[in-house]
């Protein structure tokens, strides 16, 4: 019940974090992952400084468990989980994107798995992170990613009766330049 103040003058913290950052650099994470998984992790990139990589969808849990348990890596906080639809990538239409955060060393990484839209089965991360529960339901709701092993995979923001996945690219929003509608009341 007592309120503690952590001495966190921001100058002080930044010094600590930059010190840590030099210890756990993107290069180190990449080397550790390649050492463990070999060519099962690939496409390493660093857009705007955040390490981004991919693995096969069957390995997503193995990779995240390793990132979670490893004493050096400690990616134990799931910041965000979402999906992206790329209709032109044959057989890899849906990307499931995980944003993981190591709160001790203050490093973020982005991890992606791709799956085919015909059979979008990806293993659930709910055993690892409780927070994945609703985020996976949301991803299922909007993209139809079937999270195998999820305890309660049903729609969350849309109505239960919905039969399609509205965030997929085959459902475009209305084209604002269309001229076939005559709706004088709304200024078109």
């Amino acid at each position: 019940m007592v309120l503690f103040y952590i001495k966190a003058f921001s100058h002080f913290h930044i010094f600590i974090f930059s010190h840590f950052l030099s210890m756990l650099s993107n290069q180190t994470i990449k080397e550790r992952l390649i050492q463990k998984f070999g060519d099962q992790v690939f496409n390493f990139e660093e857009p705007y400084g955040m390490l981004t990589f991919e693995s096969d969808k069957d390995n997503n849990l193995k990779v995240m468990q390793f990132l979670f348990d490893d004493e050096e890596l400690r990616f134990q906080f799931l910041t965000d989980l979402t999906a992206v639809h790329y209709p032109n990538k044959q057989g890899k239409e849906l990307a499931v994107v995980y944003h993981l955060h190591n709160l001790v060393d203050n490093v973020r990484i982005r991890f992606k798995v791709f799956t085919a839209v015909e059979k979008p089965d990806v293993f659930t991360a709910t055993k690892l992170f409780e927070s994945a529960n609703w985020m996976e339901r949301e991803t299922f709701d909007f993209y139809g990613v079937n999270f195998v092993g999820h305890p309660n995979l049903k729609r969350i923001l849309n109505v239960d009766e919905m039969t399609y996945f509205p965030m997929r690219k085959e459902f475009p929003l209305e084209d604002q330049t269309r001229i076939d509608k005559d709706d004088a009341m709304f200024g078109r």
Binding site: F4, I6, Y48, H85, L103, N106, R108
Partner: protein, 406 residues
Amino acid sequence: MEHHIKLPERSIEKTTTTLNLGPTHPATHGVFQNILELDGERIVSAEQTVGYIHRAFEKIAERRPLYQITPLTDRLNYCSSPINNMGWHLTCEKLLGVKTPKRVDYLRIIIMELARISDHLICNSVVGVDSGAFTGFLYVMQYRELIYEIYEEVCGSRLTTNMGRIGGFERNFNNTAFEKIEKFLKEYPGVLKEFGNLFMRNRIFMERTMGCGGISAERALNYGFTGPNLRATGVDYDVRVHTPYSSYEDFNFSVPVGKTGDNYDRFLVRDAEMWQSISIIQQAYQKIQEFKGTEAEVYHADAPEYFLPPKQDVYTKMEALIWHFKIVMGETEIPPGEVYQSVEGGNGELGFYLISDGGRSPYRLHFRRPCFIYYQAYSELTKGSMLSDAVITMSSLNLIAGEMDA
């Protein structure tokens, strides 16, 4: 004899009561539904339903140029819309590589901290209302009003602000805005002190809030808690310190943390954060006073591709006319890229995940909405507690329906 009332099977033997709390129950401050299973007055389980005000912002954003997405972000956490606006501008600036001047950063910090105060103020006073103290809520309203008046001077609107542009603000702060900020800095600390006195050692308030709705640091991290709710459990994670944005690294402030993560600690953490916010506003205000000459007039970055030129230039200069047309029609192509930018929102880490494929609008935009993520824990937080405690737990989590449902 024929029975006219058909009860579901085994409902007579059932020893628990099912109670629908919401979706429009006044005690839930927003459109939430909770299906509670009660044993007497104790909660056995709670099942939340969300999505009543889902408006498909992520889908709408895929058709809009960047500057038209700002009004969508207003409607996420509408208790602190300027933070969402600034977070979105920071995301765009990161993608576009726009560097903002220091004065803009400090002006933004003043606005963001004011927004944080108004957010925490509402949350804490509503916790008071739910524990039976309406006075505090009504009393602090006039200071939220003052904050809204400052917004009004800066951008013209109050609740859904659409404040700022990519690269800075749409216009410089006028003198009235600075006078009102001064007035706020002068008067508000006394009010906050009184407000704290009303609750902090109040026996009724302490007994109602202590020891209910608590969570351990491990569980909170696993549930993806961020913001004051996480700090109340004892984890000093604050985006402003961990990943400084908008020059927060130039400021001295503490990160208050609690211990038990219960409703009382959440109240205390929010209260202490308001004191820190006041100190940050004071520091920022001082730093702004130190700018002299032309520097003191800077209110936006030099980014003609994204920042609207002054109107008199549009009428007299060709370059300005071209940029004006391109910006308004959304013709400026944004560079392809993938950005994650987060800010410390009123109730946690508000993240923007933006993927651009080089068109005029984002290919994909995802909002990391803090309260959508931590509301999952509500069932665990309320299990075994009384029904009336569950109501306080809900308000002390600072759930905003608009943000949750996006």
